[in-house]
Amino acid sequence: MQSFKYARPESLPELLELLEKFRDRARLISGGTDLLVKLQHGNLAVEVVIDIKRVAELSDRVVTTNGWVSIGPRAVIGRVVRHPGIESAYPALVEAGRIVGSVQIRNRATVAGNICTASPAADTVPPLCAYDARIRLVSTEGSREVPLRSFFVGPGKTVIAPNEVLAEIRVPAPHGAMGSSFDRITRRRGVDLATINIAGVLHDNGTAVFAFGAVAPTVVVAEETSGDLCDPTVSADRVDEVLKTLLATARPISDVRSSKEYREAMLLVAARRVQRTALERLTQARGGRE
């Protein structure tokens, strides 16, 4: 690996100061599972790697507060998916988080890292987008909140400024009954990168939010309010019709993992599966409420 320097700030001000100093010549490390691969491949040159694991202000936990679930920037995926608050309310995030890399990766990789790497195929991004997660960013200039849906600019690129750090991922608590699910297509059953991935969230009020990964430079989010996807009595043909309109915004390409045509076809296959499971869950949630 090309050489770089290492810094380990112990507080947020110290971290922000380092960021001010090094700007885009610095990279933050928490889990490091993406960063180190990039550094090993030599397609990223940095001057300093800043370890944020001792910055007390950056939490490694999941906290449920009034109306929100807050995921700390240092919370590792393996723990997030086992958190009772997440397990009970956000099955799509759990399903996605459980298949990110291997056990070893999930023990180390953070949800925040999965987001900030901005890989178009990142598995936790579609569910978090579908749940309408917000990202809180801080810098010496203050703090701002960005919807995850408008967080990505392109592959590997986000709206984070060189002097900013991700401080929190905030996921709104479900308003009413909600059903959600995640699915993906891969080349093998074991650990793999997604050929395409999809998360779907169905709300009691008839709104359906789908988010697709690996089908465009950034995640694609599509929303639909006819209510048909949330209605168990609607015909399969009609569901297909609606799903196809949702999928129309996806722009898959061909690469080593798959052809464009296969991606397009699998989008619909996976979207159907996601809708089916999400609807079962919505129905269950509606039943539970009565």
Partner: protein
């Protein structure tokens, strides 16, 4: 026969070191004062090297040398197991993506890496030959300079060599059904978990090479030729390889390291990453067109085969792969007429070498698919079809070769019974079966020494490489069986040409048979000496040893040899020692929406003669089966149109994980103690891989009604085929 340790599943000799992390692999070897090397490459398939500016690299603190083709003078030393065609480093032109243009040598790995980044290579990308069609296109550039190809009749083409085999007359053979198809088999990576690591260490006049290699003696010869040294002054230390599968038979970067080490008179070490290994070796891909005739009652009437094999820019062992794969290409059947024309085609891609099964799986896909297609058309059960065509024991099926040496009907029966061939299956499932046959070693030269020490323990010296197949274990069992020495009191020494006697090579599932025979003979030699000594009145080993060495210590040395000489005039240079025969059967299910395959059950049935260690045989079968599932469902090297390898490494080249294995995997074998090895053993290391791709393709056809003639059967490939079939109907 009943034996004490032969035929029992004793634990792996060397296993303890492997579960504790103590086993030393080639990357774990550390020689004091070692310099570190890093390769410099250009990112394209073929380039003219315009200039190499070494100044920046030489300015990096710690860099000791930047070596490139310009540092060599003609005539250039070239090496290779069949043709000496490969220079130690690219001279003037790179010939495949990853072909190194320079080697940076430095005091530390970091400095070598920094140096490699600082080397400035000016190059001009040239058009490259990447596919079979391009290799056959007379308009494409020549991969090898005609002047380096002597009097080859093909010197002005990209055909390296052509082979014609066969018998009977396919033109006049009468058949009720004729089918013709084309099949293609991809480029596959050996993907040994252990990446390559080499150290060349000069010491006085001896050059020592530490490398993970299957044929230390051939390496020794190559380095001796390169440096102009006698064999005695080149020592090859070959730690047990961390997997090899054929990919570690022949020299890779050892020659260039030895050259540099000799120049600098310092040890030099090079460790490749797993991704870099993808540029060092692969499996030969092939396109096979076959026209087959069948009689109404399901007998094969003829096969007329045209096979094109895509090799690299240098031949390596591929001529032998094509030759052996083609020779018995018709399969284990009695066929009146066979005609096979095979061509090895040069290209600008990763140089292929051996891989478990050699050239068999490529041909197998074509021939065994044809059999299934015919069976369906003739309305004959595919298993029955095979039973009607296989030879019985003692029956000839290859005109110039030994007769069928086993009860192959029993092998099919075991496979059938274990997969439940004749039982009803669920409607969405498919079953498939395929036979595979491989010619084994045709020549041999294995020598072994057994030293029975004064305390009754024994040291065995032999030149096999134990790359996981368990040679150490089986040899220890043989010594133990013959001399009554407990396994734990036997030490097996391998992998150092300065210590162990000559062995031709660890290839072709030969070691149990040939080195096994040498070890057996060496043990018998010791036994004979013990018996001679015991005529003086003592009988137990201890008593004899005590009487011999009670006063002045010593040991008994037994020597054993197993050789098979070349047969002049035989197309393969000799008769196969045995046939490695397998029947693979699978039951699968296809997800019609995604094209994904689920393998519910897989059975590997082989004819092993005698399983000296049944657990080891099962491990070979299971390992080969899962490797074969990789071949069948997911593995292939992907090149772009410019010949750049797009999926080198573990990220985008997928091999099966713990979750990609069959629901149930069974390995069974037939044992009639009728092999040429000790106790009637035959080799069995490759059989599990020979036919599995075909068995799965046959099962996919059974499940979906759609025949796919290429591997791998990725979800996308199957999905596309189903779409196409759907569109057609």
């Amino acid at each position: 026969m009943s034996y004490s340790v032969i035929g029992s599943s004793v634990n792996r000799v060397g296993g303890r070191d492997r579960v504790t992390g103590r086993q030393v692999y080639s990357a774990d070897v550390s020689v004091a004062g070692t310099l570190h090397a890093k390769l410099v490459r250009v990112p394209c398939a073929r380039a003219r090297i315009v200039s190499i500016d070494k100044t920046g690299a030489l300015g990096v603190p710690g860099v000791r040398m930047v070596f490139s083709g310009e540092d060599l003078e003609p005539p250039y030393f070239r090496y290779g197991p069949v043709f000496a065609d490969k220079p130690i480093i690219a001279i003037g032109e790179t010939k495949y993506d990853g072909d190194p243009v320079a080697v940076v040598v430095a005091e530390t790995v970091d400095a070598a890496e920094a140096g490699a980044r600082a080397v400035e290579v000016q190059y001009e990308e040239l058009p490259a030959v990447v596919t079979i069609d391009q290799a056959l296109d007379p308009g494409m550039p020549l991969v090898q300079d005609p002047d380096t190809r002597g009097d080859s009749p093909f010197r002005d083409t990209n055909t390296l060599k052509e082979w014609r085999f066969g018998w009977g007359d396919v033109e006049t053979a009468s058949a009720d059904l004729v089918i013709e198809n084309e099949y293609s088999f991809p480029m596959i990576s050996q993907f040994a978990m252990e990446p390559f690591a080499f150290t060349a260490a000069p010491d006085h006049d001896v050059m020592t090479i530490y490398t993970s290699i299957q044929i230390p003696t051939k390496m020794q010869k190559t380095i001796a030729d390169l440096l102009g040294k006698p064999l005695s002054k080149v020592r090859v230390v070959a730690p047990d390889p961390g997997g090899a599968f054929g990919g570690k038979q022949h020299p890779k970067f050892e020659p260039v390291l030895a050259y540099i080490a000799e120049k600098l008179q310092r040890p030099v070490r090079l460790e490749l990453t797993l991704a870099e290994s993808f540029y060092a070796v692969r499996r030969t891909s092939a396109r096979v067109r076959v026209r087959s005739g069948f009689t109404r009652d399901g007998k094969v009437a003829f096969h007329d085969v045209n096979a094109d094999w895509l090799i690299g820019a240098y031949a390596d062992i591929t001529p032998r792969i094509v030759e052996k794969g083609s020779y018995a290409g018709g399969g284990p059947y009695v066929i009146p007429a066979v005609r096979i024309l095979s061509r090895a085609l040069l290209s600008h891609t990763t140089p292929p070498s051996a891989f478990r099964g050699f050239g068999v799986p490529q041909m197998n896909l074509a021939i065994e698919s044809q059999l299934d297609i015919a069976a369906k058309k003739l309305n004959i059960d595919p298993m029955e079809m095979r039973l009607r065509n296989i030879p019985r024991k003692g029956q000839n099926f290859l005109p110039d070769d030994p007769a069928c040496d086993g009860h192959w009907d029993q092998v099919i029966a075991r496979a059938a019974e274990n997969i439940g061939w004749n039982t009803p299956k669920e409607s969405n499932r498919g079953r498939g079966m395929a036979l595979g046959i491989k010619m084994s070693a045709t020549t041999a030269a294995s020598y072994s020494v057994v030293r029975l020490h004064a305390d009754g323990s024994a040291t065995l010296l032999c030149g096999t490489s134990d790359m996981g197949q368990g040679a150490r274990t089986v040899y220890a069992q043989i010594v133990s069986e013959e001399l009554g020495v407990p396994i734990e009191r036997i030490h097996v020494v391998m992998g150092d040409t300065s210590t162990v006697p000559f062995d031709l090579q660890t290839t072709a599932s030969r070691s149990t048979v040939y080195m096994g025979r040498a070890v057996y003979a060496a043990s018998q030699d010791v036994k004979r000496q013990l018996q001679e000594a015991s005529s003086q009145g003592s009988d137990s080993n201890e008593e004899i040893l005590k009487s011999l060495f009670g006063k002045v210590s010593g040991e008994i040395i037994g020597v054993g040899t197993a050789r098979a000489e070349k047969r002049d005039g035989h197309p393969l240079g000799g008769h196969t020692a045995f046939y490695e025969l397998v029947c693979t059967a699978v039951e699968i299910e296809v997800d019609r929406e995604t094209g994904g395959v689920t393998i519910h059950k897989l059975v590997t049935a082989g004819d092993v003669g005698k399983a000296l260690n049944p657990q080891h045989v099962h491990m070979q079968d299971d390992g080969a089966a899962v490797m074969g599932i990789g071949h069948a469902l997911m593995e292939h090297l992907i090149y772009d149109e410019r010949g750049r390898l797009r999926n080198a490494g573990a990220l985008d080249y997928r091999i099966p994980t713990t979750k990609d294995t069959p629901g149930k995997m069974v390995s069974v074998f037939v044992e009639n103690e009728d092999g040429p090895g000790p106790y009637g053993a035959k080799g069995c290391a490759e059989s599990g891989l020979l036919a599995i791709g075909t068995a799965i393709a046959n099962a996919v056809a059974d499940a979906t009604g759609v025949r796919i003639r290429e591997l791998p059967l990725t979800p996308e490939t199957i999905w596309s085929a189903l779409q196409e079939a759907g569109d057609r109907s």
